[in-house]
Amino acid sequence: MDYIFHIAIIVSIYGILALAQNLVMGETGLLTIAGAAFYGIGAYVAGIFSTSLGLNITIALVAAPLITAVIAMILGTSFARFRDDYFLLATLGFLMIFNTVAKNWTSLTGGSLGIAGISKPHMFGITLLTPESFIWLAVFVLLIVAIICYFISRSSFGRALNAIREDEEALKIFGYKVSTYKLASFTIGASLSSLAGVLFASYLTFIDPTLFTVNESILLWAMIILGGIATNRGALMGALLLILIPESLRFIGFPDEISGLMRQCIYGLILIFLMLYRPKGIFGKYNL
């Protein structure tokens, strides 16, 4: 049973990430690949708070979104002039730089050795040690994030974001401050991602820079694309499927030597065929 709880926790964490990614990329149409960087910043905030500063991890749940928001704000402001592919490249640059800094700033991040022994969350007098207890926290945070995302997409703010995705110029003519909207969406998305980072760090109790690479961001992309871009439901479904599929492939039993590679191969092929035959994704309403 613990395995199912474990997978459920991982799904919740990625669900948060996918929702955040969907807000930025799906609803607003900002091509960002920096998702893993904000996820990583959240995890590192948790790690540093818990080990170097000796603080309770629940404080990190509040602090990480704030810290990330500040970083995202600065980043979003300086990247504001980029469009589409250029924005993508700039965020890719940020992700790579984040990763290198995490590897090299040894005194703060532990360098490539990473940070071990991050404490488990302790709240209301109980420490959430096992997957069965941790799942409640993970699902709780996921719910909050889902509610936030749901309200954003229903609000006038969300409709403005959608309009930016469809036709930025037109919106400008109507007198909307497009760059402010984009910045807000980027910052909110980043803060939400950092929550997932805190959960992940305290669940695994160990983090190192290899966990927050470009592959992680691409996985997030694949999730929201598979589920259908610009739907919150789709983002959650994508996270669920892309965690479950590789895990269930563990049970197929390919010849042992190639099972891992086979998984990657199937994963690649899924992406191709999806693009060829159903680019809308499962729940798609918006065609890329």
Binding site: L31, S78, R81, F82, D84, D85, Y86, L89, A90, L92, G93, F94, M96, I97, N99, T100, V101, K103, N104, V214, I218, W221, A222, I225, I258, L261, M262, Q264, C265, Y267, G268, L269, I270, L271, I272, M275, L276, P279, L288
Partner: protein, 273 residues
């Protein structure tokens, strides 16, 4: 050095199909591994092996265009879809190559100590490096001539400028595109073979090389033939300087720092068209 060749090939694809086709890294792998299979495993003579490997890497790219990118193009799919599908192709290619050849680095030369060195002007160069130094400029000049002087090159440039317009004036776009893919695939294959000889390639090399190549292409200005080559030199020099000043572990971040600076300061790249 052979970065510039790879960038030229990538630039062709980028300009004619207007998206970041990361499957280019797949062609790189196919070239290198075909060479390994033929030259090292089956002991095929050197030049024959090169020709076959390059043909294969070109073919790989042409087929990928035929079956994946062209149908998507016909549907007027967005760049984003094309990017994702080419990425899927790269992942699948890496994995398949890993299944066939194993995951460890594979060295194409039959024995490393056979790859001897020559001393030129006080610096030691291996034959591969020497060959790169000779072949790269020759190829680049040849490509420049094709690109700027021939009918085919004109057609290529026409497609780059305006695909629909060129179709209207009677250029067979799908035919030309096929050849563009062939040429890029071959260039990627040369890169793969060179890498295989020099230090060995592994199934992950495709992804590892494609990122700096994209950066270089942007850096040099996406629209320019010579810009990419210039970008390659700027990047390599910046990387080496970083290694000297800050240490090797920062090397990976350099392309991206340079990228962000260039994007902020001069988004059209170093060379404008």
């Amino acid at each position: 050095m052979f970065y510039s060749l790879l960038v030229v090939g990538f630039g062709f694809i980028l300009r004619s199909s207007k998206f970041f086709n990361v499957a280019y890294g797949g062609a790189f792998l196919v070239g290198g591994y075909a060479m390994f299979l033929l030259y090292r495993m089956y002991l095929v003579p050197f030049f024959l092996a090169i020709v076959i490997s390059l043909a294969l890497s070109g073919l790989y790219f042409v087929l990928s265009n035929k079956f994946i990118f062209e149908p998507l193009f016909k549907r007027k799919a967005s760049n984003f879809i094309l990017l994702i599908s080419s990425f899927g192709l790269l992942i699948a290619t890496s994995a398949i190559i890993g299944i066939i050849f194993g995951n460890q680095a594979t060295i194409v030369a039959r024995h490393l100590s056979d790859v001897s060195t020559v001393n030129i002007l006080g610096g030691a160069l291996s034959y591969v490096q020497l060959a790169t130094f000779i072949v790269t400029p020759v190829l680049i000049i040849a490509l420049a001539i094709i690109y700027y002087k021939t009918r085919f090159g004109r057609a290529m440039r026409a497609i780059e400028n305006d695909r629909e317009m060129s179709e209207l004036v009677g250029i067979s776009t799908s035919n030309i595109t096929m050849w563009v893919y062939m040429i890029s695939g071959i260039l990627a294959g040369i890169g793969g073979i060179g890498e295989g000889f020099e230090v060995g390639i592994n199934p992950y090399a495709g992804l590892f090389y494609i990122l700096p190549i994209i950066v270089v292409a942007v850096l040099g200005g996406m629209k320019s033939f010579w810009g990419g080559i210039l970008g390659a030199f700027v990047l390599v020099i910046a990387q080496k300087l970083t290694v000297l000043i800050f240490g090797g572990s920062w090397e990976q971040a350099v392309p991206f720092v340079v990228l962000i600076i260039v994007l902020l300061v001069r988004p059209e790249g170093i060379l404008k068209r």
